[in-house]
């Protein structure tokens, strides 16, 4: 069980800010593949990973980061703060 969060246009494309998923994925990339296989809106949101950033337990991470012990994964576009 892992909380998956979406922000900005990723949230809009997926249609929700947060969901809890049951997953056997061992890396972020595997989780992405599982999500893409679900529905068209996920496939669309994750079609270009170079346009996305990921955080595992609220720390920026890579798509090959391990998910072992992770409670929260977030997907979002590059940040535009400041």
């Amino acid at each position: 069980m892992i909380d998956v969060l979406y922000f900005a246009w990723v949230r809009e494309r997926i249609g929700q800010p947060k969901e809890t998923v049951e997953t056997g994925a061992t890396t972020v990339a595997e989780l992405v593949e599982e999500l893409k296989a679900r529905e068209e809106r996920y496939a669309l949101a994750f079609s270009d990973l170079s346009a996305l950033r990921v955080a595992v337990d609220q720390e920026l991470a890579d798509f090959d980061a391990p998910l072992q012990g992770a409670r929260e994964v977030a997907f979002f576009p590059p940040m535009t703060g400041g």
Partner: protein, 146 residues
Amino acid sequence: MGVRVQQEPFDFAAEAEAFAAGRTDMGAIVTFTGVVRDTSGTLDHMLIEHYPGMTESAIGGMVEEARRRWSLGDCLVIHRYGRLAPGERIMMVATAAPHRADAFAAAEFLMDYLKSRAPFWKKELTASGAEWVAAKDEDEEALKRW
């Protein structure tokens, strides 16, 4: 030292004054304020989304890093989220240091990291629609100097 992430407006003058007040050990105080721009005259408002929890810890990490790199007496970061009209202040950074080079470097460092590494996303709403602001290559480039 402080990090505040808030929806409500902040009083730049009062914050800058409180930050600068009563110091006899710090010779240099630098502030940066970001303002909602309406360059084309069509912006109705801006919506800023953020990642509660991660935002505070990410900014806290940047402040810690700045304090490791430079001789700083104090640091303040305030960043708003939610709805902002043109001319409203989005955020401010203030740094105090014994010497000006440290105060300037730390403020620029914090700004560069806030731009590209703090989890905020801006959306612009104009008469013709809504659009997420795209990250700029130059902002990513700017991180390389640190």
